[in-house]
Symmetry: C2
Subunit: 350 residues, 2 copies
Amino acid sequence: MPATIRDVARESGVHISTVSRTFSAPHLVNPETRSRVLACAEHLGYRPNRAARALITGRTHNIGLIVADIANPFFPPLIKAAESQARQRDYHIFVTDTNEDASVEEGLVRALAKQVDGVLLCSPRMSNSLIEQLSREVPLVVVNRQLTGLPTVVMDVAQGARLAIDHLSGLGHRQIALVAGPRGSWTSREIRRSAMSAARANDAELAVIGPNQPTEDGGMAVAEQIVRAGVTAVLAYNDLMAIGLIEGLSTLGRSVPEDISVVGIDDIALSRLTRPKLTTVATPTAAAGRAAVDMLLAHGDDRRTTAQITLQTELVIRDSTGPGPGPHSHADPGGVVATAPGEVASYAKE
Amino acid sequence: MPATIRDVARESGVHISTVSRTFSAPHLVNPETRSRVLACAEHLGYRPNRAARALITGRTHNIGLIVADIANPFFPPLIKAAESQARQRDYHIFVTDTNEDASVEEGLVRALAKQVDGVLLCSPRMSNSLIEQLSREVPLVVVNRQLTGLPTVVMDVAQGARLAIDHLSGLGHRQIALVAGPRGSWTSREIRRSAMSAARANDAELAVIGPNQPTEDGGMAVAEQIVRAGVTAVLAYNDLMAIGLIEGLSTLGRSVPEDISVVGIDDIALSRLTRPKLTTVATPTAAAGRAAVDMLLAHGDDRRTTAQITLQTELVIRDSTGPGPGPHSHADPGGVVATAPGEVASYAKE
DNA sequence: TCGCGGAGTGCAAACGTTTGCAGAAAACTA
DNA sequence: TAGTTTTCTGCAAACGTTTGCACTCCGCGA
């Protein structure tokens, strides 16, 4: 029913190849003919069928974007940035959600493989080897996990965790808990590794709790363990968990930051709106989205760039952290200036 | 490079049509042949090219889902529900975001048109006539806007607004403000219409403020106007604005609900986590997502169902509303039991 | 006058599938 | 046994594009 290239050709009295060229290589056709063709196309409401085009050219001009949980406010800024970056280059982003489920993830990549020119895999939960295998079926850029041999974009959460622990130690906290993220999360392991070494360096004890669901409920669920552990400060895997935890603590009669200090990670918009406002490690999510799109589109046909990008993080001190029982050091607990969130050009190369 | 149907045919010694049938009509091929073909396919890593298939069948097995703002927590539950509903029927959902921009919206529908079997248009900002025009280019289901002649899914926000105003009036509020949503929003108009008539019925005055951006910032931005208007209660277009507003009021030294009562709409997860917890009108977002997918897929080839579905809403009373200056009526301000959020089968037909 | 080159266009073969039709073989039915 | 149906498979034409090649004109310089 919709007009095809043939209809336009008939109506404008030229061959279909001329119509095709009018759209995909305008300089090859006589301006006069071109405008006639365009007029007919307009009149018939013709739009080139991208699927048919893809069949020939091998490029769909679509990019798949797979996230663990679209309801996690961490992702939307990344998604939006990726979308606008893609749109500028005449690409479309198709977003899908895996429900934090590794097997769904695999199926989605496979399903997407033939309909897109590449996939942005954010915060994957599947195994490294599976990712490597999939990367042979479709160009992949992995976000939030480092993986040799594949193009990746990660945030420097190790630095962030270190800053957070230093901050808490500086406030006099000696008993700190780390609320871990989901199983299979590279970021969670990275945070843990770095937080442990930072705690050791500060003579603090670090109790690791988890793995947990990275949601408000997940945070709320560990409140009791936190209280039982007797810690005076907590670093949570993400802001959502931190917020849930604060809520959970309050129902147990503990207040933040008076009784317990809490630090989140991500700096989602929400963390400015809760009471108390959340101290957190800001991650440049939008920049990550843009960078990922750039990397995917960068290597035109010479497949398999394996550039690795690490984006800086920054500690943002708000109201959910306060002095602990220990001696109050006056080491500067302030934030480190990081990659400006709006700056694409300034990816720090690793 | 990736294996095609021809490779499989060669390897298994049958014609390509047999391979094709092995996948798309297995009952037509001899079990023995079929298993041989499947083995070869497996071995070669063959997956049917959906684009090529779509060219012939005219069905892509994809559905486009366009939302105004993916960062608005109202949408994710709808998206997830739609995704899982679609997945069950072997369809994929492609989500895109318009940044609340009507012109982007139009472009997206057009771009999506050829790559999907239909589009779910959520909370559109464009004109009715444009929507109707687009619906001739691609099957459309409109969510959050009523439109004759097109299949639509809406929430009964009129009822919700009425319940909210009744609740506030019952608490003794006589000067109420309505913080409107964005220009072009059907829902916002509907709320306004209903709230005005409910206010009249309750002998209360209703000041309308807006249109506004439907975000935290949008809510925060009107705090001053609210204070100047001298109202004692507010109904906000959505929870996000309500939360922003509460924050804004607090920086102006007004506390909720002591000085001013605030009611939101949507019942996003977050509204349970802010302090005070938000009184709000719950909308069955997940059910809407499922219903929309069902409607799109329902009319197989007999295009153009024009069923209209209205989902019930429910008032959820939490901590952001309290007694006003006026006489305290004892009319029941309680919530109305509505469509269970998990129930798909129970869409209320209009 | 001839030859040459460039600009514009048409031709037809692809791309990877599906599917109506037809033929062959096998399995029934009478 | 012969006829009839069923089951399976192959053939070839689509689907809507892109693109290398070849052709025709036309203008230009020698």
